[in-house]
Subunit: 221 residues, 2 copies
């Protein structure tokens, strides 16, 4: 349905917003809304309406000016682009506090993202049960990844051991890694790493807030 | 030291990379490195060197072509821009698994980001001690924020209660919120919210990885 050419040329910034758009479209459909204008969708998602129109334009003919967008059609297109109908069996490496939190939450609002196996290097946690799954030793990673057909891993292994954990993850055949250790790791060209860097997010937020409050105070004072 | 005009005009994309740059500069300094070229810095941070040069150019005269950048000077400038010398007393709202993980980790690698008080609405956890601090009831939020002089909060409150929690956080005088519930909340214009949306990060990563692997397979096969 979606033009392959369009799909391949989706800019990264646009692709980043697709899951957000999809979540809100599903919420709209659940509320019985069948059609939405970019301005209304902008208010809901807090993404500027010009950005929404530009993002949608990368994906082909999705709506008409003035008429708005058909919610069900957008959902169909976005699901196809994001391939959300296919279950992703995710392996989680690192069963500390953060790993526990992720395993317990397990992307419940998204039926097709499932943490299916958990690994740690600490023998003390082997065999612990979390959300129906046992914690495996790292030595079983390669076999379990092959058995599950997984291509996606989440690593919560701390920075000092992150490269070593990622090496084992890559060796097991994983090509997409969400890494909660912000220090950059070396991976082969065909492996994608996305870093979650909470310190950076927080520092950036504080930077913008402090500058804004300072300017506000100057203007008022 | 840093030109105020420059500071105010730092693009958001640049500001987002400053904490990352600063972390690597500190690592370089710890290893005894005193000067670095943008190409070397690019290899370390995995940010394209053209991006690094453009980012640095927004911040004034930081180095000379061919000579490279003085590490100690960059650290001084970036610390000043990010105001990292000042302690940020962060309040954490929501003491579930994720809240516990954040409170225990408490940005240890960053001396001036400190979770200083923890709040929850569940009486069962009031008075629990975490990293030297007791969990407070939400009713004490306003008083504690005033006592601490906090302007920054982290919310791990689940989506369905997120707006209500954020309303209380804003009412307490907080202007910067890191929110782990991805659904957009309404806040006054002077309040900044940064969303951590792990599902979106994961879906985007999978989208790029699957498209890349598909193209790679086509090329090889």
């Amino acid at each position: 349905m979606v033009d392959e050419l369009h799909l391949k040329n989706v800019p990264k910034a646009t692709a980043k917003r697709l899951p957000l758009y999809l979540r809100y479209l599903n919420m709209l459909q659940d509320s019985g809304v069948t059609r939405i204008k970019s301005k209304e969708f902008s208010e809901l998602t807090q993404v500027p309406s010009a950005t929404i129109r530009r993002d949608f334009s990368h994906l082909g003919e999705l709506g008409r000016s003035g008429y708005g967008y058909d919610v069900a059609y957008l959902i169909e297109v976005f699901n196809e682009i994001l391939n959300t109908d296919e279950e992703k069996r995710i392996v989680l490496v690192g069963f500390g506090n953060l790993g526990k939190a992720l395993a317990k939450n397990n992307f419940r609002r998204n039926n097709n993202l499932n943490i299916t196996a958990v690994f740690d290097s600490d023998p003390a946690v082997y065999g612990q049960k979390i959300d129906g799954h046992y914690v495996h030793p790292m030595s079983e990673l390669k076999q379990v990844v092959a058995d599950l057909g997984s291509t996606v891993a989440i690593s919560t292994v701390p920075s000092q051991y992150s490269q070593s954990a990622v090496d084992q993850i890559v060796d097991a055949g994983i090509t997409a890694i969400l890494n909660f250790a912000p220090d950059r790791v070396d991976v082969p060209n065909n492996v994608h790493v996305q870093y979650i860097d909470l310190t950076t997010e927080l520092q950036t937020l504080i930077f913008f807030d402090e500058n804004y409050q300072k300017k506000l105070a100057e203007r008022l004072g």
